[in-house]
């Protein structure tokens, strides 16, 4: 694929010296842009197109040959009229409102605390916290699933001995059991982004603060937290996008938790429409709605943050 870049050598020798061979940029960009268009941009428009189609039944009483016809926004209004689909949105929003702050707070606290520990331990602990990021979501869910199911789980065993009867997979709890899995997977990853930002801060700043008599608490509150704000914004945006797409965890947990329905999250709902109910057009509409909501939320958050930042200055 990258070989398409090669034949630029001869032309470049002609355009050497002061004349910068800037047209060559397109040869470098080409392969990526071609695949980007093919695998990301075109599918989006194809999905929008599909979402405006429907199967029409012709003939008396709709028993004739089915054909594909134009539906306009019918699929969209159909999707939005489905109470369970809209409920799914409410569910992931609630999920995100709780899970994202909890996860980022944990990530921030761990990053700040690691700053206080000796180098050797910090490295080891950082790697430990980051480890779950390398474990696929579905495998993480299988693992936590075993830790949630009474009978196999040592956690319910221990809690049972202490007199608790936790029902991790019950109707009211399963959403938060999923939240726990997501926090477990991504807290360390987000922590690492914050740690990276902390490291990029000039050390003299900390020195200055220390000389001015600021303790570890004051340094953290007044210097470090404001400085890692860009990292927090970045991680929040990624977390919002991730939350809206919640799919693999509930799908795998469905096996052991009857409370998880086929339209527990918007993504699950679209998936089951496409593959269980064979309604591709409705599924396409739901995917589009999901993408629009996710992008609107992340853009909304970004503009909120930047506006606030501007007004602070």
């Amino acid at each position: 694929m990258s070989t398409s870049v090669k034949p630029s050598g001869t032309a470049a020798t002609r355009g050497r010296r002061r004349g910068r061979p800037d047209r060559k940029a397109w040869a470098f960009l080409g392969p990526f842009l071609a695949l980007y268009l093919f695998a990301m941009v075109v599918p989006v428009f194809y999905a929008i197109y599909q979402s405006m189609l429907k199967v029409e039944r012709n003939g008396p009483m709709g028993l004739g040959e089915p054909s594909v016809g134009f539906a306009g926004f019918e699929n969209y209004s159909l999707a939005l009229q489905q109470e369970t689909f809209v409920d799914g949105f409410g569910r992931v929003l609630l999920f995100g409102l709780v899970q994202v702050p909890v996860m980022l707070l944990l990530a921030l606290v761990l990053a700040l605390l690691l700053d206080q520990v000796s180098h050797r331990w910090a490295g080891l602990l950082r790697a430990t916290y980051f480890l779950p990021y390398g474990i696929p979501g579905v495998i993480a869910t299988i693992l936590w699933g075993f830790l949630y199911v009474p009978g196999v789980s040592p956690v319910t065993d221990v809690l049972g001995d202490l007199g608790f009867q936790p029902d991790f997979l019950g109707y009211d709890n399963v959403l938060w059991s999923i939240a726990n899995i997501v926090v477990w997977q991504f807290a360390g990853y987000n922590m690492l982004i914050i740690v990276a930002q902390l490291k990029s801060v000039p050390q003299e700043l900390y020195e200055a603060a220390r000389i001015d008599g600021a303790g570890p608490w004051q340094t953290a509150l007044h210097i470090k937290i404001p400085l890692v704000r860009p990292a927090l914004v970045l991680t929040t945006v990624f977390s919002i996008i991730g939350t809206m797409q919640l799919f693999a965890e509930p799908l795998v947990l469905k096996k052991v938790a009857p409370a998880v329905t086929t339209d527990y999250t918007p993504n699950l709902s679209a998936y089951f429409d496409a593959f269980a109910n064979a309604n591709l057009y409705l599924a396409a509409a739901k995917s589009v709605i999901l993408a629009v909501v996710a992008m609107a939320l992340s853009f909304g958050f970004l503009s909120l943050v930047t506006r606030k930042q501007r007004s602070e200055r």
Partner: protein, 306 residues
Amino acid sequence: MSATSTRTTTGSEAAAQPPAAPAPRRRKAPRPGRIVLVAVLTVAALYFLLPVYWLVVAATKSNDSLYGSFGLWFDDPRLWDNLSRVFSYDGHVYLRWALNSLLYAGVGAVLATLLSAAAGYALAKYRFAGREAVFKFVLAGVLLPSTALALPLYLMFSKLELTNTYWGVLIPSAVSPFGVYLCRIYAEAAVPDTVLEAARVDGAGEARIFFSLVLRIMTPALVTVFLFQFVHIWNNYFLPLVMLSDDRKYPITLGLVTWQQAADRVPELTQYTIGGAFVSVIPLAVAMLVLQRFWQTGLTEGSVKE
């Protein structure tokens, strides 16, 4: 800073000391604060390690003792026996899945890295009309939810008869807008214009400059992009789920879920699921620990510009 002052003392003390042991006290930090600090960090470590530790223990158990013995301690360990069954079950299908996962993640990440490097370099080092527009257009892809995209991709690929082929998973995996973003930032900072000019004066072609000079300078960023994309593809579930129907083309994630879901019909599959998870998690866990340094370099690049 505090890190350096404590470092020398911990270094001289026993290396095997657990983190819970009283850390060398500094004059500044009050003692209760230190204890809370160590306690919080230890509890967090236990939390992150719990499922992995459980997995290690469970992988050594028979199907019966999985249910009949305490989950956090060993009971009649038989790891090799378990693992050989995992591998031989159903005509060595697990081995097939593992190779598929390596193929998807390895090839996909290499392609994505090369494409991102070329695109990022072009956006950083050439001046041409539409450059910023292209960059914004690519950045929009970063915010596009990837699983919301999987279904549209499936719809389109099924028209092109690319579903249920290796290409169906590989092509979308080779595209990483975030990789382009990282590469652009890195190339802007790390590739000096003077070096490029000198190479041009020496008569080197643009392609040669890129392959023999620029790629070398950009190596740290490339390692990061490769690692991120590798993990992203390795962990991806939705895309192979919608694309593939033949279980011989499955990656590990998809395969293990089919085992897990079939476990009420074939009870020994519970143990195979655990064994299979064990085999897939351990190498990655080791890689995460060893390659930790690289993750961080890349993340710094990523957030510096913010």
